[in-house]
Amino acid sequence: MNIWELILISLIKILLTVTVMLLTVSYLVYFERRISAWAQNRLGPNRVGWQGVLQPFADVLKLLLKEDIVPVVANKPIHTLAPIIALFVAFTTYAVIPIGGTLSILGYSIPLVVADINIGILYVLALTSLGVYAITFAGWSSGSKYSLLGGIRSSAQMISYEISMGFSIGGVLLFAESLRPYAIVQSQGALLWNAWIQPLGFITFVVSAFAETNRLPFDLPEAEPELVGGFHTEYSSMKFAGFFLAEYANMIIASAMIVTLYLGGYNLPFINVDLLGLSNILVILIQVLSFLIKTAALLFFFIWVRWSLPRFRYDQLMNLGWKVMFPLSLINIIWVAALIMIFKL
């Protein structure tokens, strides 16, 4: 494989990932509205196209046509930069998450991940922490007290939950002995998924993922009843759409990360596909499908939780983060270390 082929294949992968992400994000918004409606015995948007499937396109068109308003007191460059950071972080993180094994086609062997780097998990952690800047900048540069409060809450929340998130990932890394997402998926295989081995770590990671993506029960940065719109109060038009897209893209990343780290990635449960003697293409197809189904189920879970649980108060959030989640994730690390010592895994 020479350099040009490598670049071409990478470009195709990037294009595919971004397109699928954008489509998924817009349909996620649609499903959020439908599922929320069903949970409240309503129908939800069902007019634009069959069962409202064209609703996302109508929404995007509407947002594009809206006037872009920047407050007079706003810091203009940073006000513009904030949604760009949010989108950048949301879309680049996906580069390291593998959606299937290695595809052999036309004499090439292509791993189904945009960038198979050996510090993958570190890369995800680093980029998701950059996401705090988007929200903090947005809150601070808007020149509005509600936005500022939203931004402050967001930074405090994300910093405190990142710690328990990092520590719960620690348990996974102890097992996999690698930061490479592929190695982590392969270390889990078909049976020993991290969710079964370390349920504590799984729970703390899922809860922290909710907090990191600013989803309800932890959506304090936007908290509509108290902060109008939170950090994006002063945003309109496509800049607002940027934050909106970033929130949903973050949801996808969080679910994909949970799948990769705890639910066996692209592996089928209890069946080792590699041993079934199927052709490479079929194996890859099954793997990609199982990854997508797992991610979709988690996305449904995210939406389902949002429409079931009330929002935490700010002090409760901090209590939970520092006094419950943090110790639990530490206990999880000790538990995993003990397991490794006893069973010499």
């Binding site: 069903w38 949970a39 409240q40 015995n41 389902w304 079931s308």
Partner: protein, 164 residues
């Protein structure tokens, strides 16, 4: 200041949240499969009961004459000053009739005082709730739009009589 004590503390299972979260989630999941309350509006329409106060209308007898005697009580009682009446003389038994009867539907607040005060049961609230205008002039309803045959508002008249 009286200190109100908590009736009882949360139990251990309630404090670790997770069973309660599962309870809440199962409730919303159950509701997702229940029949929906939404009415698909332009296709299905809501038919209000007789007690509903929709657009006020003037009652027209079977022979095409209005009941209204243009006493002006409705216009007098109207809190939003939406009704304008101009009386005229006629050879008919009731001697008076409204030459002009206009209700400004932008002003009307659907309080129903006009129908309560009317001595002739001539103005009643109908079931019509589809009121949309594209111009302000369209919102001023004259006699042509207000007069409605008596059989169309009969159940409202019966409802009013049962409460008088």
């Amino acid at each position: 200041m009286a200190v109100k004590k908590r009736e009882k503390d949360l139990t251990f299972w309630e404090r670790i949240y997770i069973p309660e979260i599962v309870k809440g989630l199962s409730l919303t999941l159950k509701n997702m499969f229940k029949p929906k309350f939404t009415m698909k509006y332009p296709e299905e329409k809501f038919i209000p009961p007789a007690s509903y106060r929709g657009r006020p209308v003037l009652v027209m007898e079977e022979n095409g004459e209005e009941r209204c005697v243009a006493c002006g009580l409705c216009s007098r009682v109207c809190p939003a000053l939406a009704i304008e009446v101009q009386a005229g003389e006629t050879e008919r038994e009731k001697e008076r009739y409204p030459e002009k009867f206009e209700i400004n539907m932008i002003r009307c607040i659907f309080c129903g005082f006009c129908e309560e005060v009317c001595p002739e049961e001539a103005i009643v609230m109908s079931k019509d709730y589809e009121l949309a205008f594209s111009k302000r002039e369209e919102a001023i309803y004259g006699k042509d739009k207000l007069l409605v045959p008596v059989h169309q508002v009969q159940d409202r008249i019966d409802f009013l009589r049962s409460y008088k």
